[in-house]
Symmetry: C2
Subunit: 318 residues, 2 copies
């Protein structure tokens, strides 16, 4: 396909028609156009995320459709973490010669599925040739007021919606050739098909003081909340070990469930600091005065290094 | 520098403080937050552009600062072409190991200069490791109503603000080692430091029927307007040859000025279809019924292929 044909294919798969409140012009012009008043909130929440082959995914570990899906969800999750509803997305792709038209269409199908699942259509983008495949997604959302990382207060509880550690376990299963082990299916699925927790984000937005999505690992992302909020956060080891799915997956892998929970990223769970319980969230710790991150277990409290999960032997950079 | 130090450096260079109307939260959270009502128009105009090393630039042909500047301006120009004012930007970088901290800081300085020149601060972004350098910029702007590519009508004039062909001449001068030739300085500068024509975009937005920025070459970009608007556009050869700077640069290069004007991209001039003259724009043709693109010269009218300029021996893809 030449460029015109590829753009027409992308417009067809992603949907060139206007399919979301506020979208006046979509794919096919210099820029997309949205009507601010129709987006459903006076604050705009806007993010960009880039997934690079070799750093964030390997094509042999997921289908092209999965790769499109998860790149979209990673960006949508940032908007969910602010308590906003995603309203539209722009996607930029760098395509090496060994990504053919069928692969591009499959990536776009995965993006479209994720767009449909989040209610945020892809309304524009960019194609470029390059030596390494990358997928960049910018998502724009709206809300009445945004929940920052920096608002946690001593006395808040720490609450979790979604899984932590499963996606990292799934990646490990894939990398070690154990994806066919049925006990590991929930983990493999968690890595290949994560979901931005939009409804949970909306639920917490009315009451939470601070929020973050777990993209780089609980320790690292909650560590960001602690440092941005100038508080100390104490995680509850028993609560983190209580997840039966994670425990079963960890046992099948011969891994430690707590290690996966603390350092495994890419599940896109939401963690919030909030003085009251929130439907859909479970308690995993509390916010106190001080600084840093700690874990309280049966034998007392110990410091936790706010690092993320290293995959593909490289440190994650974003 | 580790990642935390690099992010702190970027926040310092790009400006972590809120510096634009409507920006409530900038660099440092999951997403940026803007107040829709403060952006200065009820339509949001939103674009994404990616510049890839080897496809869009080569590091030996420009400084890191130039590379940051021009990647930002390419995206801001899309917003200008819709008649909107850029209000903020997100930048995602993929960094190979051979782009060191000093280079990253210089890229950011170029982005900051461009952000200051356009009034659209960088309020968020993403860093990722990869094998090939790329810079992705998403720009969000606002306007009362956006000017599409598809609105040109028979009877409109075709109007140009800015230069066409100079940037391509500058790239050719750089590639052939003639950047020190003083006669070619305006061309080299045009390629290294293009400017999004925001004021011209605002000026045309009240009266123009259609608009586009010349990123891929006049023939190709005006061809998009013709096909999207279902009209024929006739360019005026004498008007295109009238540019004395381009004529002098073409002579120094031994190139044809018309060829540079028609097929040279990356000047980010604005072309609009409009029934009345606009301050700052000059007449370069007219819109008639029919389809396709033509050039009217002394010996009559001939068809023009709506192709772009091929640089680095590769076809441009976006």
């Amino acid at each position: 396909m030449d460029e015109t044909a590829r753009l027409a294919m992308l417009a067809r798969v992603l949907g060139s028609e206007v399919r979301s409140a506020g979208v006046e012009m979509g794919i096919g012009d210099d820029a997309a156009v949205l009507r601010a008043a129709a987006l459903g909130g006076e604050r705009l929440v806007w993010t960009i995320d880039e997934q690079v082959e070799g750093t964030h995914f390997r094509r042999e570990l997921a289908s092209w459709q999965d790769i499109g899906w998860r790149s979209f969800m990673a960006a949508a999750s940032d908007v969910a973490a602010m308590g906003a509803r995603p309203r539209g997305a722009l996607c930029a792709l760098v395509l090496p010669d060994d990504v053919d038209d069928a692969a591009l269409e499959a990536i776009a199908r995965g993006q479209r599925e994720a767009a449909d699942a989040t209610g945020a259509p892809v309304i524009g983008g960019n194609l470029a040739r390059g030596t390494a495949l990358s997928i960049t997604t910018s998502v724009l959302g709206a809300c009445a007021s945004a929940i920052p990382r920096s608002g946690a207060r001593a006395g808040d509880g720490l609450w979790l919606a979604g899984d932590v550690g499963l996606a990292a376990a799934g990646l490990r299963a894939l990398e070690t050739g154990r994806a066919d082990d049925r006990r590991l299916t929930p983990a493999v699925e968690a890595w290949r098909r994560p979901r931005a927790r939009i409804d949970d984000g909306l639920a917490m937005s009315a009451v939470a003081h601070a929020g973050v999505d777990v993209s780089d690992g609980l320790a690292r992302d909650v560590g960001h909340v602690a440092s941005a909020s100038h508080v100390r956060i104490v995680l509850d080891e028993a609560a983190l070990r209580r997840d039966v799915t994670l425990a079963a997956v960890a046992a099948a892998l011969g891994a430690d469930a707590l290690d996966l929970a603390l350092y495994g990223g890419e599940d896109y769970a939401l963690v919030v600091a909030c003085p009251v319980p929130i439907t859909g969230f479970r308690s995993i710790g509390r916010v106190v005065t001080g600084e840093g991150l700690a874990l309280r277990g049966a034998d007392g409290e110990r410091a936790v290094e706010p690092r993320g999960y290293d995959h593909f032997g490289e440190r994650r950079d974003g």
